[in-house]
């Protein structure tokens, strides 16, 4: 239990309801730096979720203040953001925890409900 808490602290536990958008943003930035619109389109493409502007920037501000992403020089009034080492570590911990849940759920479904 203590290990799980430590892992959560290193992940995105403090983001509360913004953990979802934060995961999507960090996953998108893992590919490379992007500005707000490019992030929205990329997330829509790989997750099928359209991040609304207010939600996107609330999550960006939180990630930036926690040092998980950093702002680059603005290009034509659009400012790209890139993942930091702290952000990559937090994303890795968070996704590993999610994978444990996913694996467990799929295993139990297969055992008790058969494969689809």
């Amino acid at each position: 239990m203590a290990d799980r808490d430590a892992a959560d602290d290193a992940g995105l536990a403090g983001f509360g309801r913004y953990a979802g958008p934060a995961t999507l943003i960090l996953s998108s930035l893992a590919e490379g730096a992007k500005h707000g619109y490019a992030l929205t389109k990329d997330v829509e493409e790989f997750a099928g979720v359209r991040l609304a502007p207010g939600t996107l920037y609330e999550a960006l501000a939180r990630l930036e203040s926690r040092g998980m992403i950093e702002a680059l020089e603005a290009e034509d009034r659009r400012r790209p953001y890139r993942l930091t080492a702290a952000g990559a570590a937090a994303l890795r911990v968070h996704l590993a925890a999610q994978r444990r849940v996913t694996d467990t759920g799929l295993r139990r479904l297969a055992a008790n409900w058969g494969s689809a």
């Binding site: 403090g14 992007k34 500005h35 609304a52 502007p53 207010g54 501000a61 680059l72 659009r78």
Partner: protein, 371 residues
């Protein structure tokens, strides 16, 4: 998808497209107003570009408007230190962001506690006047007053007011000492002016309040200090300072019969109190307390919230027993002004508790981990 280089939805060149972009920019500018100024300075330009692209793609979207409104209100709450993370105005400096966030929380804590103290003192003053007159009229040996809720509210709020005043003095000392040290130290003149202006304003407002309150305290409608559970001078002074919290504002005819000086004071004192509270908040936000002193202030804030909770509970019990919807006893019957005052107490207590919790959480987290 190429990083950072994706094209955005937008006009392709014709006059109609230019008009569409102008309309989208106008709508984006209106949406941006939901956010506070520091947020707009940091993110405004890039956020506007995103909004323009989004509006061009989806011209009519109630969901976007609601989402932006919610984001703006959350950013305002975060700016007041009531939620969320500090704004990383200087990218790569999370420690400075944490310091500003803690200062904002402590500033809001000071403002909420100050308003609670002012409104609470007015409520307490009314109870005290009921107490001293009840004590004077009732035969010796009988309980004063008859109802336990009235008795508990008067004695309990008396103790709470004194505790809140003591906590206020304790909280002010580190801030004033830090301000004095910063003003005495050799540093940039602009920085010292940023501290000196609110400090001088605060002192001027407090001086005017003390002078005015002392000159009006002889008008106190108590019994000259007899039968009062607290020193009569203190009770009279606090009554004079909070005289403007009154139901008489709804009865201009009665108000017009008040002495001119008292009426003028009822109009001036809330302004002075507002200036004093605002100056104190600006000082707290600008002083930049050390983490150790900030922790001390946050702990005092929690103690303050505990006292305020007790004060609020006593007032609520008084309203339930002797309020406008209850039977009412002579001298202690609470009116709608007390209901409004108690609602203000509830709001300010909530704000103070949230601010104290936010400050403590921000102080407990490492510099780069604001929650």
């Amino acid at each position: 998808m190429s990083p950072a280089g994706d094209g955005a939805a937008g006009p392709s060149g014709g006059p109609a497209d230019a008009d569409a972009e102008a309309v989208a920019r106008l709508r984006a500018a209106r949406l941006l107003v939901w956010y506070p100024r520091p947020w707009r300075e940091r993110y405004g330009e890039e956020f506007t570009e995103l909004l323009v692209s989004d509006i061009t793609e989806r011209p009519g979207s109630l969901g976007r408007t609601l989402d932006v409104a919610k984001g703006g209100l959350l950013a305002r709450l975060a700016g007041a230190g009531l939620t969320g993370a500090g704004l990383a105005v200087h990218p790569g400096d999370p420690a400075a962001a944490r310091g500003r966030h803690v200062a904002a929380s402590l500033g809001t804590l000071a403002a909420a506690s100050g308003v609670f103290l002012i409104v609470g003192a007015a409520q307490w003053s009314q109870l005290l006047i009921g107490w001293v007159w009840a004590a004077r009229r009732q035969p010796s040996g009988t309980a004063v007053p008859a109802l336990a809720a009235d008795r508990n509210a008067t004695l309990g709020t008396s103790a709470a007011i004194i505790a809140l005043l003591a906590l206020g003095v304790l909280a002010a000392l580190p801030v004033l000492a830090t301000v004095a040290a910063r003003l005495a130290a050799r540093g940039p003149v602009a920085q010292r002016i940023r501290l000196a202006v609110p400090a001088v304003t605060l002192i001027a407002a407090l001086t005017a309040l003390v002078t005015g309150g002392r000159s009006l305290e002889n008008n106190w409608i108590g019994t000259g200090g007899l039968h009062s559970p607290v020193p009569g001078g203190l009770a009279a002074f606090i009554w004079a300072v909070t005289l403007f919290v009154s139901a008489y504002w709804a009865h201009p005819g009665v108000l017009a019969a008040f002495p001119g000086t008292e009426l003028a004071w009822m109009e001036l004192s809330p302004l002075l109190l507002a200036v004093a509270v605002a100056s104190a908040v600006i000082l707290v936000r600008r002083t930049g307390l050390s983490p150790r002193l900030a922790r001390f202030e946050a702990r005092l804030g929690l103690a303050c919230c505990a006292v305020m909770t007790a004060f609020f509970a006593l007032c609520a019990a008084w309203l339930a027993t002797d309020g406008p919807l209850a039977g009412g006893t002579p001298l202690f019957h609470a009116g709608w002004i007390n209901v409004v005052s108690t609602a203000v107490l509830a709001l300010t207590l909530t704000a103070a508790a949230v601010a104290a919790r936010t400050a403590r959480r921000a102080l407990a987290s490492p510099p780069g981990c604001l929650k």
